[in-house]
Amino acid sequence: MTATAVETAALVRAGERSAVDALEQSLAVIAAREPELHAFNLVLADEARAAAAAIDTRVAAGEDPGVLAGVPIALKDNMCTRGIPTTCSSRILDGWRPPYDATVVRLLADAGAVMVGKTNLDEFAMGSSTENSAFGPTRNPHDPARVPGGSSGGSAAAVASGMVPVSLGSDTGGSIRQPAALCGVVGVKPTYGLVSRYGLVAFASSLDQIGPFAATVADAALVLEAISGHDPADSTSIPEAAPDLLSRLDDGVSGLRVAVISELMAEGIAPDVAARVRAAADALAAAGATVEEVSIPAIAHGIGAYYILAPAEASSNLSRYDGVRFGLRVDAPTTPEMYDLTRTAGFGDEVKRRIMLGTFALSAGYYDAYYGTAQRVRTLIRGEFDAAYERFDLLLSPTSPTTAFPIGEKTDDPMTMYLNDVCTIPTNLAGHPAISVPYGVGDDGMPIGVQVLAPSLGEVTMFRAAAVLEATLLEATS
């Protein structure tokens, strides 16, 4: 088993394990599993070796390289890395190398982490299975015939297969939590604005948020602490400093008020998944929390609102891929034809579908009926969550309605694919944090994740509950 990030960082900082050694172990697993899984778009072995050696030199010189010293980490390939291709798993960014690092990339480097590569995703983070990648699908480490979830499927599979202890993904409608659940790892969508979006290639700006994948709750906390905090380069970044998660991780849940969301335990949720959520609720109750049920009726409109708002923003965010300044260009006699040919060749079907949906939703005469209504639904959902959080500290639900499905099963049916996000989308619309914690397996033996939801900036309490679930599961299976 791969060492955890907490262990590796402690040993490297103490000079008891070299960063190079930790990296070589990571690269060895990548060499063994990558051909089958295709978690990575790009493995940066040489750059990582140089970075790890530099960490070791600093430790030898008596310096402290930071809280993530020598921890190998993988990045979803929609975060800008200076001089290193950043593809979003799209042909349209062919050949583009960003001239700057995303804020999270800089923060990870400052904390001593070693970036081993860029992971596969659904093109521009649009999808729930990582099948919409221009470079082919990523496979689920627990069963390579199945999807890892998406859109951050590469980052989830990289952690689940032990290639790296931790990775970063982005979550617009569940793109961290759903693949975390399907791959059996921890995945966190932080409060909107807690982690800087500067350098994250935008899908839907008002919903996008970067967060960690990890094999353990403590590792997820370690990484989230390192990447959080105010960034003046992101106007939607909140002023709060990074939360203090690790020191509170073992505080338990005694006295916390928890409620299971009834709408997310009903029709459409597989019985084995619902059973694991009930088991999680029982475990929290046994640990001293009070557990009830709560109804948040507006959740029923979440998917509808999301599939207006996210494509609307995406249709605008993706306009810049026009062949003029960077990436792919298909030459044509006139500029408008060049736009057409470039975008036709450069974007995959799902991206085109969402650009068209969003363009339509924003069109004169339709704006209020679609975008306006969706915004009102968003306000409604946020209001109902806020009301629930007046009575409860945390909410509980499944992360995904089912376990991982076979590759190819839903690719011809976008609507069914969209329904995968029913449990995760409301959190993005509300701007709140949520974490998916592995909590056993389903009838098919595939992992099941339980989602713990918290109010804005409720990360500390949320991680305490996640730690309790992690501990009770270990007890149950050991």
Partner: protein
Amino acid sequence: MSIPEGWETVIGLEVHTELLTNTKMFSAAPNHFGGEPNTNIDPVTLGLPGSLPVLNRKAVELAIRAGLALNCTVQRSIFARKNYFYPDMPKDYQISQFDLPINTEGWLELPGGKIIGIERAHLEEDTGKSTHMGSGGGRIHDAEYSLVDYNRAGVPLLEVVGKPDLRSAEEARQYVSELRSILMAVGASDGKMEEGSLRVDCNVSVRRVGDTEYGTRCEVKNVNSLRSLGRAVDYEAARQVELIENGERIRQETRHWNEDTGRTTTLRSKEEATDYRYFPEPDLVELDPDPAWIEQLRSELPVLPRELRAGLIERLDATPTQAALIVDRGLAGLVTDAFDTGGDASRLLTHAEHDLADERSGALAPAAFARLSAMERDGALTATQAKTVLADMVASGADPESIAATHGFEAMESNELESIVDRLIGEHPDDWAKFQAGENKVMGFFVGQVMKATGGNADGKAVSALLNAKRS
């Protein structure tokens, strides 16, 4: 071309001005005119994937100052995306303000006193500049290839949207001139139309005098000077009247002013207009300026052109034309300060109107200008001499006394002047007889002779007075 009798032109102007900030609207890239193409750029300017806008506080401050000077209400506002594809628009959307502009409902007073409504004055970012190469005559459709310079992309703009309250090309010119003065006075703009830092789009329609409904309007673009503005409005109004009188209808469209031909031509019809798909910019938060900050900016507003003109007219007895010209040249402060330090009002105004077109005039010391006018009033300098001294003062910055001494301009004693006049009367008895008989034009002859004899050092008025006194 101008509009026929019985018709009225209705004009509403949209004026874009670049704001005088050090950096761009949403990034730290420099904001300055000129420079090698694509040097004032950064990831945000180029709209690179992952880059995000951060609002420039100085741009907001200048927009508020301009809004307050235009008597607008400053309000909570939001930014919106205006979506359209064009190579000089890096993100293929422009960050602008739509539903909620920062400034709303103001007004501006023309020099003659007419009030023109301001609908809104909102913030937005400028585009880059495209140059279309090849045989197509500079149009993108026929270009072989195009070059884009993104130095201007992201420069902060204030768009001032005026109400359709203007009724003639002359009023339109006055409006732009007044708006320009106000924007310059508050430090928002350098007002340089020739560099494109002030740009005007005009909406023109016509109607029969007495009609209360507006006619169908056309928007005229590419108006790059006050002169073009007048010409374009007159041409467009006449074109529309001719169409209507021929029984045709005006189509709502955007038209292009061609400076060389003096005509407007169709750019695109209303049906071809882009659907901009405006929606709130999710990368920025709402802009809700602190009321205390707004009040502070209000208290720091300079004296505005309208008040400067009123001051010149009321205190120095300036004519409206003089007042407008002096304020327009930015000389109101100089003239008023010179007056307050003992200058002669009428001579200060005359010089400011006629002799201070030089750009360096603003640097004149008010006290020195005041002393010059006093020397002239007291007869120590003639009007002609004063003009010469003033030009030297502007050029060299030296004081009037030393310049006058250098030129040998010395006050002529009146008894010295009288003896010269007496001598000349003696030398020209016939002319003197004609003058005594009432031939006033002979006065000029004698004044000229005196000037000749004194090398121009005599005061013309004093000579005339002396001659008249001797005749009676």
